[in-house]
């Protein structure tokens, strides 16, 4: 009986790329060269409209996109009669619409539901002082607040119209997941970006409750959001990232803020991965890993161990653009000129100036 020779197969790790190995792609690489991007199939060109939203880390993404020559899509830019610098002071362009920080998946889901009239929270405008009214769902967006509840509601209506325009016309939506903890209305479940009573409003335990999302709930919210976005914009691509910025405080009873941060970021990371695996138009970019990875030995955090230093943001955006553009890069965009003026306003200024000179000449 002839002895059968067993054909030997190499084990699976033999054929894996360098990035699958810790020593070759993390420990043995200079920190600035570490590239933890896995599968990432989004491609952007200078024409691709990239919109952003999310926690405060998303502001860095918006700022770098703007400076890099790519199309950072701003659907609520503010009226051009306001000079560019004044609009920036009023938080126009901080994100693609003036929604302020969107920390949780539930907040994002409720934003699209509010924009399309499917959810109308009962929460009234917050009166902070005489002539100072805040929008409970974006309390820091208008510096100094709105002068009346009517102005706030009119601006919100205009804002939500811009949000609809953004969702319907964007090509890529970059959303940075920040937190699982939030505060919500006991009456209708509306969630707030900050706890009522902190920036405005009055805290009332009969009206508001603490809510810490589970991974299932985050996935459910992101799934609902994706469906709503796809319904109005079937071609839209979604890039999820997780903010590496730790919680400033936790309200989870008995919890330590460090453990609470680990819980929040873990849930968000798992949810992002579940979404990426579940939907072809959802992608994950590892901002969280680049900033918080042990390879940089904490160098990307500022002294407060929360804020991210510019070097870290630069690392994230360098990799983001390299992967999303296939290394093409783009010419750096010119920032707004300090003397930039609306063409109409320039003409009007000229008209009034000529008139003033003429009258002084005793026409």
């Amino acid at each position: 009986m002839a002895q059968q020779v067993k054909k030997e197969h190499p084990h699976p790790y033999k054929s894996l790329p360098e990035k699958a190995f810790w020593r070759r792609s993390v420990a043995g690489v200079k920190p600035a060269k570490v590239d933890p991007v896995g599968e990432f199939n989004v491609r952007i060109s200078t024409d691709t409209k990239v919109a952003t939203a999310g926690s405060c880390f998303a502001q860095h993404i918006a700022r770098h996109l703007k400076q890099s020559g790519y199309c950072y899509y701003v659907a609520e830019a503010g009226h051009p009669i306001l000079p560019a610098q004044a609009r920036a002071r009023q938080n126009y362009g901080l994100f693609s619409c003036r929604y302020g920080n969107i920390y949780t998946a539930r907040q994002l889901r409720q934003l699209i539901e509010r924009a399309y009239g499917r959810f109308d929270p009962v929460e009234k405008p917050w009166k902070k002082a005489q002539g100072v009214f805040l929008d409970p769902f974006r309390p820091t967006s208008q510096p100094g607040g709105f002068i009346s509840a009517e102005e706030m509601l009119a601006d919100r209506s205009q804002h939500l119209a811009a949000v609809r325009r953004m969702f319907e016309t964007l090509d890529v939506f970059v959303f940075t997941l920040g937190l699982t903890e939030c505060w919500r209305s006991k009456e209708d479940g509306a969630v707030f970006p900050v706890c009522p009573g902190v920036e405005g409003g009055t805290f009332d335990p009969k009206k508001y409750e603490f809510y810490n999302q589970s991974v299932e709930e985050v996935i459910e919210d992101l799934t609902a959001f994706r469906a709503a976005l796809s319904a109005v914009n079937p071609q839209a691509q979604i890039i999820l990232t997780v903010s590496p910025v730790p919680l400033v405080a936790t309200a989870q009873p008995g919890e330590h803020v460090l453990s609470a941060t680990t819980y929040s970021k873990s849930v968000l990371r798992v949810a992002a991965e579940a979404m990426r695996r579940g939907f072809d138009n959802v992608h994950y970019f590892p901002s969280y890993e680049i900033i918080s990875g042990a390879f940089n030995r904490g160098a990307y955090y500022a002294d407060d161990l929360r804020n991210v230093v510019e070097e870290g943001v630069g690392h994230v955006m360098r990799l983001f653009l390299a992967h999303a553009t296939g290394g093409a890069g783009a010419a750096a965009a010119e920032g707004p000129s300090a003397v930039e003026e609306d063409e109409h306003l320039g003409l009007a200024r000229q008209l009034i100036q000529v008139e003033c000179d003429e009258i002084a000449l005793d026409r």
Binding site: Q90, I147, R349, I352, A360
Partner: protein, 260 residues
Amino acid sequence: MAEVANKERRLAQPRILLFGDSHAHAVQRAIAKREGKGQSAPISAHSLLKEKNGIRIGSTSLEKFLKLIRELEPEDVVVSMIGGNQHAVYSTIQHPQPFDFFTPDGDVAEEPSEIIPYRAIRDVFEYGLRKGDGRMIEDVRAATKARVVHILPPPPKKDNAHIAKHHETIFREDLPQRGVSRPELRLKFWKLQSRILKKLCKEFEVEVMVPPRRAVDEEGFLRPEFYANDATHGNWRYGERVIRELERRYIGSTAEWPSK
């Protein structure tokens, strides 16, 4: 002896020196009218000297005026009609992207204009006024011991047809094409400017004088009989009303002069 003479002069009436840009011209014209009739005006009016394209406009540079008012006494009066047309820049020609804003006085924004939050537009205006007219008013205040009063610019004209008709020839094509803004928007901008100027003047310890009551209609617009032949300025009759108000406030009398 000189001290006694000064005291006597002060008991007689204060010296009033006026300085301004284009709005001062209405007062200068009113003074010329009085002088033409052999009447006097107790005001010496100076307009800001500028040179544009080789043409000199105005009579007195800011530096020269500051020097003039240095020697005034606390009983004397310096009147500022500096600047004043920022509101017209924003609200005379219709913007291709119509906009409006709410105000703390309860004015609402008109649909379907784009809403600019009040505090956003105020931020722009305050920044512009502070580094422009505000700085000059502050310089005037710092230069003299005399009382300083700033006169708010005349309110806007309600009549769009007048503005469309009396505009600069080089804008003949632009204005009909773009149109004139709504009068209500012009009034809102004027109120905004007035509010900020009042705030700045309070900060600089400068008194504020509002436009003469008789020149303003019940809605707050400039009455047509006080229109100069352009989009924004008052005529000599308006200037005469300003003089009378100054006389009433600081001299305690009014000259006999018809309002029309």
